[in-house]
Symmetry: C2
Subunit: 203 residues, 2 copies
């Protein structure tokens, strides 16, 4: 196996674990074991655990940016594009992503934090904010409070997407088939965007 392949294997394995359990809860040994390596071998590819974490996040964010940019540029209504964004992010966050902000703020040094904050902003906030900005400019949407423009609406949408129906809280969790799951997610994405646009009060 070549150097580059091993590096990718480490990145993907680490990504899965970090997303599942967070920075602190995942040891370098566990990552190495899952890759079929010993723990010191990791240090041939990444100087520190924090460097590995940053690399994982940058890798993930660059992938998300290309998808979100593409969605933002589609010739569809604001609502349609927001629903696509919501579905994509719901699918991603099944693989994690929720943990990210937590770790960025609480476990990383200031240098790594600033770098990741910037990458996060460019990859996730800006593309989605451009959709909101369009809606605001066209008068389709209103700013709900002073200063709550496109960027802040994006943050709000991201928080809204953390919501999962209460059924997921029960411990049994007889999960449906994957294909069915995806349809449910799409329905869920539409519901949340619809709620954000129209509110809970009857019109």
């Amino acid at each position: 196996m070549t150097d580059a392949d091993t590096q990718r294997l480490i990145l993907q394995t680490a990504r899965r674990f970090f997303m599942e359990s967070g920075y602190r809860a995942v040891s370098t040994r566990r990552i190495a074991d899952a890759c079929g390596l010993t723990q010191p071998a990791l240090y041939h590819y990444f100087a520190t655990k924090q460097d590995l974490y940053v690399a994982v996040m940058i890798d993930m964010l660059s992938g998300m940016q290309s998808v979100l940019d593409r969605i933002a540029r589609r010739s569809e209504t604001v609502q349609e594009r927001l629903s696509r964004v919501a579905l994509f992010l719901l699918e991603q966050s099944h693989e994690g992503m929720e943990m990210m902000l937590h770790d960025i703020v609480r476990e990383l040094g200031t240098t790594a934090r600033d770098a990741l904050n910037q990458a996060f902003y460019r990859a996730m906030i800006q593309p989605v904010a451009s959709i909101f900005a369009e809606g605001l400019a066209a008068g389709e949407l209103i700013t709900p409070a002073a200063g709550m423009e496109a960027v802040n609406l994006t943050f709000l949408l991201l928080n809204l997407l953390k919501y999962r129906p209460a059924e997921n809280w029960k411990t049994d969790a007889a999960s449906p088939a994957a294909s069915e799951q995806r349809e449910l997610l799409a329905l869920h994405a539409n519901t949340l965007v619809n709620l954000l646009l129209n509110g809970l009060r009857p019109r």
Copy 2:
């Protein structure tokens, strides 16, 4: 200092740290130090670190339940009561609480998890859900999707409340005075509830 006083000191100190940094990131030594005790002294009051964490959470949740129950029973409109709930939760989460669900799901054993989930449901979900249920029954609110009744709307509101304006992201953070801060929070609470009820589209 009596036994009971020391126990309360430990609970309050541990609560602050757990809320700030999460279960895993806070060592028993750090808690003990901040209480002016040595680390083994903690074990006179709590058998394990996990027991301490559970006690902290139960303590916190019981305090929140009494406040939320009281708000739910006020003779005000649904919107007014939801705004009060939102303001209260925003103030609390400044002190933490956000970390809770993360740790409950990811760091605790199944027994502790089930106990805390149940306490969380009773203390936070049910009181707020009763307000939503009233609004739904009166026809003031609509269910945005099949199965998305009062309980699920409560989960949704809780996620909405995690949102903070983007200004908090900048590293400078010249924070305003405490009194001013509280007024800003009240404004913020009103905005979020208003948005949830009326949506982003002009009416």
